[in-house]
């Protein structure tokens, strides 16, 4: 029976409105003696009750079901069903509501009185009883009933709140996983295990590629769990992914996350964090540890401890200058193990020592260079831990080494059949050297299927670029190179002109169009900021000259070469 129904019932007693003459509710008087019944009924009516009568157990139950009394006075000895049995049945039907049953009995022996209580009776009065005692007992019962009702009302409100809170936790968990975890890249490159202490974790693992093919990982541990952590996790994830994809350096990413958390979180909340950036070679890494437990790198020469060297994020703004990321050189067989304090603080058997002191040191000790450690760690934790963890546990293991961090999402066949367009623009002092094509394209994963052609492409690009730089931007004459002295003069002049501020720019664009099967075509376009040439065909040269070989080479390698914009733009098509 719900509380609302109870309160809506007409004539029922409300807490606090007990006044003389006010209705105190409905009383059920059960007695096989009609005189007793009438006597008690009259007494109760004078006290402000409406009263109904029953003369045996069965009748009492029927009246209880139909009339919903607020208090019951029960005789023990009755023909048919006795008071004990009737009370047992009635009490089983009252559910969460409290309907006091007071036994009225001529019996005075201890055993009988105990039996009253065992049947579910709340009080007993020995017959004959005085009017004064009855009044006092009724008031006591009413106090108990009012207390019970107010607790029931509070419980109902509380369970509604708890239910709502759990709903919100679930919603936040869904939002968090969508907004945070689904954006993670390269999750196959490292192993991680997360065990949240509550619905969802205050721990955070983020990973994303850098534009140069490197991998960046952030592991965060918010103070507290639940909604507060989720609210902080969203901007952290946004900043991390966006800035990493743009290639922003570690210090600026940390500073931005720190700024945001400082702005968002109250003074006692913050995020301890790891930030690891692994270069695409896999052997150079930068690490930053603000308030997380030490990480461990297993190297040929033993374990290297990467201890916390900075404040957690969100406490001080701006971050102190000296708390920059640290550089570290690694070998391809080295491995990195990072964790949140939830792991280390897990209690262990038999004497509640922390896992940090019992189990973890042994795992580290047995960890062999070049081998994974995660499984042993989890095994040891599960074997030793006592009870459930009270904090979120996060463990991340990262194998280092040059193992192509930029794994391709699509199958290789699909890559052969998909086109792309890529360009780079270099200006001023940067014009001096064009980075190797293999590095430029390889880092963004565009070389798939082109490995056999990279040599030829490199030649074409180098020649076209050099022409654009030397003749287009720097206005050097190839004919200078006709003599050995001229050669030297040419290159000295090249250096001099490049050193002059703002010499110009060159834009190199490559676009790949897949053909059928393994055939393909790459369009190479080089444009420079120079004014072009006045001659009609300036690059058409005599093969016997010691200069101008480059263009010939390009023409030999390419399907077609054409100039436009007065020679300031050249387009070559390489096909296979």
């Amino acid at each position: 029976m719900s509380n609302a129904e109870t309160q809506a019932r007409p004539g029922s007693q409300q807490p606090g409105d007990q006044q003389l003459g006010a209705p105190r509710g409905k009383a059920l008087v059960v007695d096989d003696e009609p005189t007793n019944c009438r006597l008690l009924t009259q007494m109760l009516q004078r006290e402000g009750f409406s009263a109904i009568e029953a003369h045996n157990g069965e009748e009492a139950i029927a009246k209880f079901d139909n009339e919903h009394p607020d208090i019951i006075f029960m005789d023990v000895m009755m023909p048919g069903m006795d008071g004990f049995e009737a009370t047992r049945i009635i009490k089983a039907r009252t559910g969460s509501e409290f309907v006091p049953v007071i036994f009225l009995t001529a019996l005075r022996d201890e055993k009988s009185l105990i039996q009253c209580t065992e049947a579910g009776g709340d009080d007993f009065l020995s017959k004959p009883f005085s009017f004064g005692i009855l009044k006092a007992r009724i008031q006591a019962m009413e106090r108990v009933r009012d207390l019970q009702r107010s607790i029931a009302a509070k419980n109902a409100a509380l369970s509604t709140l708890i239910e709502k809170d759990q709903e919100e936790q679930k919603l936040a968990e869904r939002l968090l996983s969508r907004a945070v975890n689904t954006r993670n890249a390269a999750t196959g490159r490292y192993r991680f295990v997360q065990r949240p202490a509550t619905t969802f974790s205050g721990d955070l693992v983020l990973s994303q590629y850098l534009p140069d093919g490197g991998l960046r990982i952030l592991i965060g541990d918010f103070t507290g769990h639940g909604l507060a952590a989720a609210i902080g996790a969203m901007p952290v994830s946004d900043i991390f992914h966006t800035m990493t994809l743009k290639g922003v350096d570690d210090d600026r990413v940390l500073s931005e996350i720190n700024r945001k958390l400082y702005q968002l979180l109250p003074a006692d909340r913050f995020m301890a964090a790891w930030l690891i950036s692994i270069a695409h070679t896999g052997t150079t890494l930068r690490w930053w540890n603000g308030g997380m437990p030490s990480g461990w790198m297993q190297t040929r020469h033993g374990l290297v401890e990467l201890h916390s060297h900075s404040l957690p994020l969100g406490i001080l703004h701006p971050l102190p200058e000296r708390e920059h990321a640290n550089h570290l050189q690694a070998e391809p067989t080295d491995r990195l193990l990072l964790m949140s304090d939830g792991l280390l603080e897990t209690g262990t058997k038999p004497d509640e020592l922390m896992f940090e002191d019992n189990g973890f040191p042994q795992v580290l000790e047995r960890w062999k260079h070049g081998e994974p450690v995660m499984d042993h760690l989890i095994e040891s934790l599960d074997e030793l831990r006592s009870g459930e963890p009270f904090d979120d546990i996060t463990i991340v293991e990262i194998p280092l080494g040059n193992s192509d961090y930029h794994s391709s999402p699509a199958s290789k066949t699909a890559l052969y059949q998909s086109g792309w367009r890529w360009s780079i623009e270099l200006a001023d002092a940067r014009l001096d050297t064009l980075p190797a094509l293999e590095d430029l394209l390889g880092s963004v994963g565009l070389l798939e299927g082109l490995h056999n052609h990279i040599g030829a492409l490199q030649t074409i690009v180098t020649e076209l670029y050099t022409n654009a730089l030397e003749h287009g931007v720097l206005r050097l004459e190839s004919s200078m190179k006709a003599t050995p002295d001229g050669f030297e003069l040419y290159y000295r002049e090249r250096e001099r002109r490049l050193a002059v501020p703002t010499p110009g720019w060159i834009k190199l664009s490559l676009s790949y169009q897949p053909g059928s099967g393994r055939q393909g075509r790459i369009r190479i376009s080089v444009r420079d900021s120079g004014p072009g040439f006045d001659d009609e065909e300036p690059l058409q040269t005599d093969a016997s000259q010691p200069w101008g070989r480059g263009m010939k080479l390009v023409r030999d390698l390419c399907e077609s070469v054409s100039h436009s914009r007065n020679g300031a733009e050249v387009e070559a098509i390489y096909a296979w």
């Binding site: 603000g290 060297h309 404040l311």
Partner: protein, 101 residues
């Protein structure tokens, strides 16, 4: 598990001592130990010599005290840390925010 405070009027200093575990359960008691003292009016000593354990919510509470005491220039000293407590404070690099004695 208890938190006691002692105010030394001559030194304008408040000593807050935490016995046993310093974790979220102490939140109210810890806050009550300084909230009636006007912000920025006194210096504080947090005595952790009888503290057996410190969790991250305790770190948060120390930050709240630091804010109450006057933020960056806050004269909050933490003294008497045992080995386990010291370990937690060191991992969090709290020596950059508090004077650890």
């Amino acid at each position: 598990m208890s938190i006691t405070r002692h105010i030394d009027e001559s030194k304008q200093q408040v000593v807050i001592k935490i016995d046993g575990r310093f974790d979220f359960a102490q939140h109210k008691a810890f806050r009550d130990a300084y909230r009636d003292i006007p912000s920025g009016s006194k210096s504080y000593v947090v005595d952790l010599s009888s503290t057996s354990y410190l969790d991250s919510s305790a770190l948060g509470m120390l930050l709240l005290l630091r804010e109450h005491a006057g933020g960056d220039s806050s004269p909050v000293r933490i003294q008497g840390c045992g080995e386990d407590v010291q370990r937690v404070l060191k991992i969090a690099n709290f020596e950059k925010l508090f004077r650890l004695d």
